[in-house]
């Protein structure tokens, strides 16, 4: 039997040369007359080890990494095809501590299966959730999702089942399921990993949502920066259509569900659900006033479920294993697991899916191994560009929506960006305003004007001019943005700004010393 060799086609793996490694392994095998089958899987999420090559054995997969093109001949010399030792050997993949300590529910298949093989998906428990859902009434599907405690993983953490129930209750013919795949937060990549590494789980989740609320059309609003995800999703949708998992009659149930990917166009604000809907309708991505809620008047004025990729991709396992199974993970009102993304200046960066409740410190040090530069980690930004910066004194906070909100911080989409002690927090505060100014949709004044004014005032502070007075001005401006903005872009830009000022005052005050001098 031909040995199976797994080489990821995940775009982060590609960014480390996975394509060239795959080509080199293919041609080296041919040259040596060794028959192998190369499977392009998703990434296991141990990104510092990419390109990670795995060899299938009777005992399980054996990993090698990080493999570069120049390592390929020596891997063959060492007979890695028969899982023999090499300087890059990592042992059995499943036994790698970093992976073994995780609780992978949403990411159960990512890195294991061939992402666009429907056969492989089904062989690994795929479509069990949809089968169960089809045997239930719509209200019972919604109840299962509600009972699981699943909350929106995009960042707002609104209970998914309650949103679905609102759409279910609308008595109109046309409804929509919209997947928010405009993953724009810096430090996050879990949506991308799902779409590239296990697109069928998202398709299955959206199909279940459609059957549950009575929607026959779904759209995936995908950011234009993710070309590989687009290819994987379209291939998977095509395969699902061919096999009757999508289309006019889903698995002979008499219910229709059609799915289409739409490309976004590089506007961060379109991750906000109403702005996303405007964009899908072919307009400028300007935020809408709420109410009406999208669940009542959403896409083209029809009731619409708008959910994040991870929320929808978690539905299949809930429908497969039951609400209780999922809800048994987690703490407090944060049930289930969170796919955490370790990013920025971190040694062992990658995807860690864990039940809610692990502390930041465990993630940064036990998993992350400290900073990549070897210097002390001084600050972390959790939850993307609109999330607060946390100092070392807050690293024992458990990852839990409520614990974070008590600190005036957010968990958001689960991205953790680490900075070492060379970071200048005044520059980070300035960047937060600048980013808001670049991305503001312009509809509301606090965000449109406030962001530019904020960057200007930060420039004054950085130049050491009237620091005390200007910090007061930034606080005042932040208050206006917090309370007066239409959406989270203007409304949460003060989180990184004020947390930087509050936790790292020295970075702002040293500028005062310059003035005094």
């Amino acid at each position: 039997m031909m040995t199976k060799i797994y080489i990821p086609r995940d775009s982060s793996a590609l960014s480390m040369g996975a394509e060239k490694v795959a080509l080199a392994i293919g041609s080296e095998a041919k040259k040596r007359g060794i028959e192998i089958e190369i499977i392009r899987n998703g990434s296991r999420g141990l990104y510092w080890l990419e390109t990670m090559v795995e060899v299938d054995t009777n005992a399980g997969r054996v990993a090698y990494g990080p493999v570069k093109v120049q390592d390929v001949p020596s891997l063959f010399d060492a007979d890695f095809v028969h899982a023999k030792a090499h300087v890059l050997s990592l042992g059995l993949t499943e036994q790698i501590d970093w992976l073994k300590k995780q609780q992978r529910l949403t990411f159960a298949r990512v890195g294991i299966t061939d992402p666009i093989s429907l056969e492989d998906y089904i062989a690994h428990d795929g479509y069990q959730g949809l089968k169960n859902a089809l045997s239930l009434s719509p209200a019972d599907i919604v109840k299962t999702v509600t009972d699981s405690g699943l909350r929106g993983r995009g960042g707002a953490a609104f209970p998914t089942g309650i949103k679905w129930n609102t759409v279910l209750g609308c008595q109109v013919e046309q409804k929509y399921i919209v997947c928010n795949a405009d993953e724009g937060d810096s430090g996050t990549y879990s949506d991308r990993m799902i779409m590239e590494g296990d697109p069928f789980v998202l398709i299955e989740g959206m199909t279940i949502a459609g059957i549950a609320v009575g929607a026959n059309q779904g759209y995936i609003y995908l950011r234009s920066e993710y070309p590989h995800a687009l290819v994987a999703l379209n291939a998977a949708i095509e395969a699902a259509n061919q096999a009757g998992y999508l289309g006019a009659d889903v698995l002979g149930s008499g219910k229709a569900f059609h799915l289409e990917v739409r490309r976004a166009a590089g506007a961060y604000v379109c991750g906000e659900e109403t702005s996303l809907l405007e964009s899908l309708e072919g307009k400028r991505g300007q935020v809408r006033f709420k109410p009406p809620l999208p669940a009542i008047e959403g896409l083209f004025g029809k009731p619409t479920v708008v959910n994040n990729v991870i929320s929808l991709a978690t539905v299949p396992i809930i429908m497969h294993k039951g609400a209780r199974y999922y809800a048994d993970f987690g703490m407090g009102r944060s049930r289930g697991t969170l796919p955490i993304q370790l990013a920025g200046n971190i040694k062992h960066s990658g995807l860690v899916e864990l039940a809610f409740g692990a502390t930041l410190r465990e993630l940064l040090y036990d998993f992350g191994g400290g900073s990549a530069t070897g210097r002390p980690i001084r600050a972390v930004q959790v939850g993307g560009p609109l999330g607060a910066f946390l100092p070392e004194s807050q690293f024992d906070t458990p990852l839990d929506y409520e614990a974070f909100s008590q600190l005036w911080a957010v968990l958001g989409h689960g991205g953790i960006v680490a900075f070492d002690d060379t970071v200048d927090m005044a520059l980070m505060a300035r960047y937060a305003f600048e980013f808001c100014a670049i991305e503001s949709c312009g509809k509301c004044t606090p965000c449109r004007i406030g962001s530019t004014r904020g960057a200007e005032v930060m420039d004054q502070i950085i130049a050491g001019k009237d620091v005390v007075k200007n910090i007061k001005l930034v606080r005042d401006l932040s208050d206006t943005m917090l309370n007066g903005s239409l959406c989270a872009l203007g409304g949460m830009t003060p989180y990184p700004v004020l947390s930087a000022i509050n936790h790292f005052p020295k970075d702002f005050e040293t500028k005062k010393a310059i003035t005094a001098a």
Partner: protein
């Protein structure tokens, strides 16, 4: 013979693209404007203003609305870029591992700022706010290829290869 209009734009009939075919293909989709604009940019690498009129007629919207949408989204270009597009991620994760130095280096070597093209038309430099490669910061994208853990030397190689 002048194939440009008053504003220096290439006339619709002189574009190397069949605008009518693209319009026919997309105009009946719900929310057709973005898919149509993507199709045009995929063909030409930008969206010439001379296409606005045909788009507005087909979708029954004003030219102003077409212009408003094109200019709202960072992805859409209104001018022809160089032969290669180099995008450097400016977001926080990449800043944590030296993207600021990478940006400065690129601007200096290419002798251009963001949204500009080198004199030989080889490279257009653009900022990007997250490529989803945050585990391997700093990240850049050259055309459709993404690169992680990019050093100044790596960037030099990319630029040299693109300009060769």
């Amino acid at each position: 013979m002048n194939n440009c209009d008053y504003f220096g734009e290439i006339k619709l009939q002189d574009l190397p693209m069949d605008i009518e075919a693209l319009i026919n293909e997309h105009q009946h989709m719900p929310g057709a404007l973005l898919p149509l604009l993507h199709a045009i940019q995929d063909n030409l690498s930008y969206i010439p203003e001379s296409t606005y009129s045909a788009i507005s007629k087909a979708l029954n919207i004003s030219v102003a609305e077409v212009h408003g949408v094109v200019t709202f989204y960072h992805h859409f270009r209104t001018h022809k870029p160089g032969r290669h597009i180099l995008q450097i991620c400016r977001a926080e994760s990449c800043q944590a591992l030296g993207s600021v130095a990478l940006e400065a280096h690129a601007k200096k070597c290419l002798n251009i700022d963001y949204h500009q093209t080198t004199k030989d038309d080889a490279i257009t430099l653009e900022p990007v706010y997250c490529l989803g490669n945050c585990a391997l910061s700093p990240a850049v994208m050259m055309d459709d290829e993404i690169y992680g853990r990019v050093t100044l030397a790596d960037l030099d190689v990319l630029v040299t290869e693109a300009t060769a």
